[in-house]
């Protein structure tokens, strides 16, 4: 039977690839931003999948801490990208 780690890690790779493909394809900022966030979620899922150590054991806390950092970094980057987008729209409207 396939282990949960491999199963979810492969899912993470799948999500990463979907996001990566969309990042490369989309021209428009917001779609690209969503794609980048999906892409990041895939990487996070790989980390958390391999941190899982079965029903009985505590999971590895290091990847959890790393991903928590990653989530906060991702939301900061998103806030900044949206601010840039807003400014550009304002300039375009003028």
């Amino acid at each position: 039977m396939i282990s949960e780690q491999l199963l979810f890690a492969l899912c993470g790779i799948g999500i990463f690839s979907i996001g990566l493909r969309a990042t490369l394809i989309h021209q428009q900022l917001l779609s690209r931003l969503l794609a980048l966030n999906v892409c990041g979620a895939g990487v996070f899922l790989i980390f958390i999948a391999i941190a899982y150590r079965g029903e009985t054991q505590i999971a590895d806390p290091v990847p959890h801490a790393l991903v928590l950092t990653g989530i906060v970094v991702a939301v900061s980057a998103m806030a900044m990208a949206l601010a840039l987008r807003h400014k550009l729209k304002d300039l375009n409207d003028e």
Partner: protein
């Protein structure tokens, strides 16, 4: 029997995650994309819970789906529906597809090989053995604020940088209409509840899932709700306080770190009998900074008077050239 049930549930979750990821990425309609993305974030929180990462499930629900969702929805509020979609030439599209598939295959191979190679423990045993020394009992908090506290410090710097960018780029959004009475009634008891819950999360982070980031994000959502109900509430805000709140997290963190360097030679090397209290102090300060940062990110820019006070109070430093 239960094993197969788990496998079935896992596969369902994975399939849903992949589908939502695909839908988020495939649509050209911003509104749909954002909606799918929020749903994706919530499902991801479920996946974190499944993989025994409750700290992350909390963080993802509050930050990943909640705050990001709010930011995105606020951003697309005034978008036109019609999106001009210029399609890639099909050769380029196929190259991208090929690249992605090749990379995914490589990564799959790498992960498979990596799982074979590893003993499955990695740093876990080492970290768990040291957790009693760290001053807290929640291992994730121990890693975040003691073993790898430096990462967390730089992460706060990342948050501050993003907020500085938001503050420099735009003035605050001012298009809010007065809220429904029913929403205001709800908020009058929901906001205090959120504040209390956020304090609880901060406190409980020492020994159970929770901590500064979850607490900060929750506090930020309280601020955002307040803004939705009372659009004028922020015009009275004291700008010096706002500056103070933004920097207090890093300032306390660095001060503690440097103080410990004088006492114990290593930057952030807490004296072990004090580490619990030091971590709580740092986390409290960080909660305020994160909350104010996320709230400002939602407001979309600087409040009135953020920049102009220098010109009004002093002629200051002249340009220094063209003379």
């Amino acid at each position: 029997m239960t094993e197969w049930l788990w496998l079935f549930l896992d596969l369902t979750l994975i399939l849903l995650l992949l589908t939502l990821a695909w839908l988020t990425c495939a649509t050209h309609n911003n509104q749909k994309g954002v909606t799918y993305f929020i749903a994706f974030g919530l499902l991801l929180a479920l996946a974190w819970a499944r993989l025994k990462a409750p700290d992350l499930a909390l963080a993802e629900a509050v930050i990943g789906a909640g705050i990001s969702g709010a930011l995105l929805l606020a951003a697309i509020k005034h978008d036109d529906d019609a999106q001009s979609v210029n399609k890639l030439p099909s050769i380029k599209l196929w190259m991208v597809n090929l690249l992605t598939v090749a990379l995914a295959t490589l990564m799959g191979w790498g992960v498979w090989h990596g799982l074979e190679l590893s003993d499955g423990n990695r740093l876990a045993d080492q970290v768990l053995a040291q957790v009693p020394e760290s001053g807290v009992t929640n291992p994730v908090t121990a890693v975040l604020l003691n073993f790898r506290a430096y990462d967390t410090l730089l992460e706060l710097a990342v948050v501050l940088t993003a907020v500085l960018a938001v503050l420099t780029l735009n003035p605050m959004r001012k298009t809010y209409v007065p809220a429904e009475p029913i929403l205001q009634t709800m908020l009058s008891w929901l906001v205090p509840l959120l504040v209390v819950t956020s304090g609880y999360l901060l406190w409980v982070g020492a020994h159970a899932p929770g901590g500064a980031f979850q607490a900060g994000a929750l506090l930020a959502s309280a601020l955002i709700l307040l803004q939705l109900a009372q659009p004028t509430a922020y015009q009275a805000i004291n700008l010096n306080w706002m500056r103070f709140l933004l920097i207090v997290g890093i300032a306390v963190f660095v001060s503690v770190g440097l103080l410990m360097m004088f006492l114990n030679t290593a930057f952030l090397g807490y004296s072990s009998s004090w580490s619990g209290i030091l971590i709580l102090v740092i986390e409290t300060a960080a909660t305020f900074s994160i909350a104010s940062a996320l709230a400002i990110a939602y407001m979309g820019g600087r409040p009135d008077g953020w920049e102009t006070f220098e010109t009004s109070t002093s002629s200051g430093h002249q340009g220094g050239k063209h003379s």
